[in-house]
Symmetry: C2
Subunit: 135 residues, 2 copies
DNA sequence: TGGTAAATGATAATCATTATCAAGAAAACT
DNA sequence: AGTTTTCTTGATAATGATTATCATTTACCA
C-alpha cells in the first residue's frame, strides 16, 4: 500500500506560513512571504489552498479588514482586536472570560438556529497607534 | 435664520430604508428598494451615503457576508446570527447575557489598546435552512 | 442675484477574488 | 512499466463589489 500524501509541497508551505505567524495575514501576504523560496508559486494557488483549508476546518477567516480577508491557523476559539487605524489584528487569549457558552443553547431554543461557531471582535486603537497620535 | 437641513431627500431616504428593516441589507438592496420611488437614484449615491453614515456613527457594518457588506441602523450593541447556508443576518437581542463588559478594561490594561466597540457574531444554520435539509 | 460648498448621476477605474483551461505530477490499477 | 484517472498548479481572463472622477445640479447664505 502506498503512502498517501495529503499535502502537496506548496499546500504544505502555505499552511506553514500561516501557522507560523500571529499576524493574521492576507492571501497576498502569504504569497509574498513564500515567493522568494518558491519562485513558481502562483497567487491563485494561495487563494485556492486557503479555501481548501477553510472548508477542511484547518484555518478560519478573521473577516474582511480593509477590503482583504484575514486568516488564522489557530482554530481555538479566541477573540480578536482589530486596530481601526493600522488594521493590525491581535489575538486576545483567554476569551472565555468574556463569553458565555450558554449562548449556543439559548439561540437554539429561542430561534431554532444551530450555532456552529462564533466570533468576538474588538475594534479600537492599538497601543502603537495611540502613541503616534500623541507626538 | 433658515432651518439647516442636515439630510438631503435622498440621504434621508437611504437612512430610512435602512432603519425600517431588520434584514441588515446590502447597498444593492437599499438601491433596489428605493429605485421605484426615486427613479433618478444612483447606486453610487447609496454607497456614498452609507459611508457618510458609518463615519458619522449613524450606521454600523455587520461585516462582509458572501462578498457584500451588510449594514445595520440599530446602533445598540447586540450580537448577530449569520446563517452560512442562506446568508440571512438576524439580531440576537439581549446580548448582554453573553458578554462581559470588563473586556474593554482588560484589553486596555493588558495590551494598552483602547477598545471603542465590539461585535459578537454567531455562525450556523438557521431554522428555515435546517428544515429544508430535512425534506 | 450671485457665489461657494455640498450632493448627485453617470461612468470609468480599482482591486481582491474566482473561474477557466491547458499542462504537470501523483496515485491507482493493471 | 504502461495506462488511466484524479489532483494540483501557473498563467490568465473574468467577475463583481466598491470607489474615484468629473461635470452638473442643488442647497444655502450674503
Amino acid at each position: 500500500m502506498n503512502v498517501k500524501r495529503n499535502f502537496s509541497a506548496k499546500r504544505e508551505a502555505i499552511y506553514e506560513a500561516l501557522a507560523s505567524t500571529k499576524s493574521h495575514p492576507t492571501a497576498e501576504w502569504v504569497y509574498n512571504k513564500l515567493k522568494p523560496d518558491i519562485p513558481d508559486l502562483s497567487l491563485g494557488t494561495v487563494y485556492r489552498n486557503l479555501t481548501v483549508f477553510k472548508e477542511g476546518g484547518l484555518v478560519k477567516s478573521v473577516g474582511v479588514v480593509n477590503g482583504q480577508e484575514r486568516f488564522d491557523a489557530d482554530m481555538s476559539p479566541h477573540p480578536h482586536f482589530i486596530c481601526t487605524s493600522c488594521c493590525k489584528v491581535m489575538d486576545i487569549p483567554g476569551g472565555k472570560l468574556f463569553f458565555d457558552m450558554n449562548a449556543y443553547d439559548h439561540i437554539l431554543k429561542e430561534y431554532g438556529a444551530r450555532v456552529k461557531s462564533h466570533s468576538l471582535t474588538f475594534y479600537g486603537i492599538c497601543h502603537e497607534c495611540a502613541e503616534k497620535k500623541d507626538e
